[in-house]
Amino acid sequence: MSHSQRSDIFLLDAERTTWHDETLWFVRQKRDKAVYATPEFQELRQLASDIKDHTLSRLNFYLQQFEENARRNGVQVHWAADAAEHNAIVLGLLRQHGATRVVKSKSMLTEECHLNPYLTQHGIEVIDTDLGERIIQLREEAPSHVVLPAIHLKKEDVGDTFHLHLGTTKGNNDPQQLTETARQHLREKFLAGQVAISGVNFAVAETGSVVVCTNEGNADLGVNLAKVHIACMGMEKLIPRLSDLSVFTRILTRSATGQPVTTYTSHFTRPGEGKEMHIVIVDNGRTKQLGRPDFRASLKCIRCGACMNTCPVYRRSGGHSYDFTIPGPIGAILSPNIDMRKHASLPFASTLCGSCTDVCPVKIDIHTQLYKWRQVLGQAGEIPASKKWSMRLLSRVLSKPGMYSLGGRVARQGLRLLPHGLTHAGGYNPWAIARELPEPPRQSFREWYAEQAGQ
């Protein structure tokens, strides 16, 4: 199924689509308010972009510096070439500690590696502790947004889910009460946690620390109560210096939700007394992306989700329509690197309006990359036949002025004379499924111009 086919499913519920669209636009507006209140925001974007560009250009050095410092801090560092190796490392650590359950805070990387189903298959109980992630875990769904994983759901859905799994009263859809129920339910899990898995927002090379940002406090609570902490990170999370965090902590949440900062910005450098800390550094296609000059800037992404909130296509098609761990514009440029054929429709899920590029806090040229992926996909023959042939036809017509002018005349007459049912037949004119074609003008601009010249 293509992105547009999956979007059709989302669009069946018009009311919900409108709600989704408006809610995410509201988040975008909150972002704007926070950004405009920060006078040096544009300077910070440039700094963030430059720091990330520099880090990627010396990634070999920073990875080793980070590893060396982390080891010196008493942290065990593991390297995983792909998702399978990452999952095997995590399972190995759990087995080593005889753990049967694990509490987990938000990590898009573990989603990308499909860690949860893998651990479950191997008899480990995995508890996602971020409220949004817990909701979708109970519903056996994937997150639909990187920051707001359950944004595709309404409170009634959550009420039903909690009634089914956590025994709340049927019809209790009050967010306050549902959150309280989740707090009680997850507290038990935190207290009984043996091993905690967290994601990583930033990894500081000069200190060997990992920084984790949450609003709920679930990462800190899980990690600080468990005997073992496993932090899983993509290799692009590195930044060189502690002081670079000042730039990234200022732009991350302002871009994401419009908050000035997350409630908890936690720096994990050494394991607690008598405890263990592990960091798994994952490649899984990132070195390949690093080697693509047109697309390597996508590795600068800090997963704020601003490009999703602003995207007119994402807002009206939902995160699940992308069928990739990272949805939205950034997902559409990351996914073809992983599997070009499977995700061939995603770079086309855009109007190329450029709003994603405008809001990106690390200045990734997202819409340019979307355009470039289209070229790559075209070259590789990964676009649908209908699109391929109509594009060929169009390019022939547009390159021959005589044919273009004839075509225009035929179209103007045709639209006037042919029955509506034929000109608007969805079968060969899908553009007209939900739209009216414009009324054809009497003459073309060229014809009009020729007339003026004669006067």
Binding site: T23, D50, I51, S57, N60, G217, N224, P260, K288
Partner: protein, 189 residues
């Protein structure tokens, strides 16, 4: 495992572009007033209480919280739950109020630096039902740049804490008290 490390690093070496410059981050200045700090912190759900004299701290705490609360604190003689790095999870789970020292506050976002040394136990600031941080009003910096400039080391563990634990994961409705402290009060001395 070593082979993956070598393989990844070799691929990075082969694929990373020519070196680009690392910029110097300026120490952006800004408003470092108590007024702005208070307004920002209240905006994110925190409470600010002015304590004129450190000696009045116990009295202020009694005025703010029920007197039968189980309190953990290195700052109050009346703290009745002793906590250190080895305290059991069961005991930690029963703490209703933790009163801890904050090192310094950041005015632009209302956050306060709390290093492990001030926490008694790493989980205490999150597992307690309510959190109060004592902060010297002279220890305010304007921006995160000045905050990190002030931190010569982040220690083994430390967190910038801004307000109570919260979530908006159900239909974007803001709910205070997700997994961490249900309320966060800054006691300015």
């Amino acid at each position: 495992m070593t082979s993956s490390r070598e393989k990844i690093l070799a691929a990075v070496r082969a694929n990373q572009p020519a070196e680009l410059p690392l910029p110097t981050v300026p120490l952006f200045e800004g408003d470092d007033s108590v007024e702005k700090f208070t307004a920002i912190l209240q905006g994110i759900g925190g409470q600010v209480v002015e304590v004129t004299d450190v000696a009045r701290l116990p009295e202020v705490i009694h005025g703010l919280y029920p007197t039968d609360y189980r309190i953990a604190s290195p700052l109050l003689p009346e703290a009745n739950v002793p906590v250190d790095a080895n305290t059991s999870i069961e005991v930690l789970a029963g703490v209703e109020l933790a009163v801890l020292q904050g090192e310094f506050g950041v005015v632009e976002n209302g956050t306060i630096w709390v290093p492990e040394a001030n926490m008694l136990h790493r989980a205490l600031p999150m597992i307690t039902q309510h959190l109060a941080l004592v902060l010297d009003r002279r220890h305010l910096v304007a921006t995160m740049h000045q905050a990190y400039a002030r931190l010569t080391s982040v220690g083994s563990y430390g967190t910038f804490l801004a307000g109570p634990s919260k979530t908006a994961d159900i239909e974007q409705s803001l709910v205070i008290g997700a997994h961490g402290a249900r309320s966060m009060t800054v006691l300015l001395v």
